[in-house]
């Protein structure tokens, strides 16, 4: 039963696009900033346009608002992210992380609202030359918005070793798997560039859809 109609489909899309343009942020990288730091992110692929901001009160926790627009259903969800760095392995030449991700919010499709949320884990490991990560996430926002389990894996290599303050480049391969609904794999070769607090990623998926992510830390 419709409760209220705060977003029309068109205005939601316009808002998402505007937010993406205004906030240069993010991707699959750090989910938590330094204690007292902010990150703003925008992830865009064939499945969704996502915009979020994360504040880290400590080096192991992150909280902030998110807005997702699901391109396949036209549904949306807005709410609060809660991320927790369960463990970090700081080694001399590498770093590994284990995160627990969650979010709670309000899902909306054509004016019909209901509670929604997601939960998952992410593990990553990187050196200055190599990168690998795995993330899974179950989103429950109703059949009309999004209700599925997603797995994403990445491997990457840096073609050169960059020093602090210079441009860092990565060549990466991302694989997305949707075991329940789409029953298919999508593979996306991409380039990650980052320098200082700015990170950008761009790629084209195996089915031809573009992907573009931005992130900035404050």
């Amino acid at each position: 039963m419709p409760i209220r109609k705060p977003w029309s489909r068109g205005s939601a899309l316009s808002t998402a696009v505007l937010l993406c343009l205004l906030s240069p942020p993010a991707a699959q990288a750090r989910l938590i900033s330094y204690a007292g730091g902010w990150m703003v992110m925008s992830n865009n692929d064939q499945f969704a346009n996502e915009v979020s901001a994360v504040y880290s009160p400590t080096a192991t926790t992150g909280i902030g608002p998110f807005y997702d627009y699901y391109r396949d259903t036209g549904g949306q969800m807005a709410g609060l992210d809660f991320n927790w760095l369960a463990h970090r392995w700081n080694q001399k030449d590498s770093q590994g992380n284990l995160y627990f991700l969650s979010g709670l919010g309000v899902a909306n499709h054509d004016g019909e609202e209901h509670a929604g949320g997601f939960a998952g884990i992410e593990a990553d490991w990187e050196s200055r030359r190599y990168y690998a990560s795995y993330e899974n996430r179950y989103t429950e926002a109703g059949h009309d918005v999004r209700q599925e389990f997603q797995e994403t894996g990445r491997i990457g290599i840096a073609p050169y070793i960059a020093e602090s303050g210079s441009l860092h480049s990565w060549l990466m391969l991302q694989a997305d798997h949707f075991p329940e609904d789409r029953k298919s794999w999508v593979v996306t070769p991409l380039v990650r560039l980052f320098q200082g607090p700015y990170l950008a990623e761009a790629g084209v998926a195996s089915n031809g859809h573009p992907m573009f992510n931005l992130m900035i830390t404050f």
């Binding site: 204690a35 080096a59 700081n90 990187e126 960059a162 602090s164 200082g196 830390t217």
Partner: protein
């Protein structure tokens, strides 16, 4: 014998008092850190330490894994503050050297 013991005790006291004095007057601090693998690490270090009043500049070397903290004249930063700053940035201190 008593005189020797007395002199050694005095020398020990002088050395004990001199160590913190040297730490307090050091202008450059070199912190070896584990986990420094990307430019975000450097950004975090700079954001954390540049908020501290005694700090004049922070330089991060990803190759040597050393964070150099330059202090303002008369500025001091004890090991506890340094370790907390590195931990707040999300990394681990291996060693601290003052120059």
């Amino acid at each position: 014998m008593k005189k020797i013991i007395k002199n050694l005790t005095m020398l020990g006291l002088v050395l004990l008092l001199a160590a913190p004095a040297q730490a307090a007057t050091a202008k450059h601090i070199f912190v070896t850190v584990n986990g420094l693998v990307c430019d975000f690490c450097a950004v975090s270090m700079k954001k954390i330490f540049m908020k501290k009043a005694p700090v004049e500049a922070v330089t991060v070397n990803l190759t040597t894994k050393i964070v150099e903290i330059d202090l303002k004249p008369g500025g001091t930063l004890d090991d506890r503050e340094i370790k907390k700053g590195i931990t707040d940035a999300g990394y681990a201190v291996v060693g601290i050297r003052r120059d």
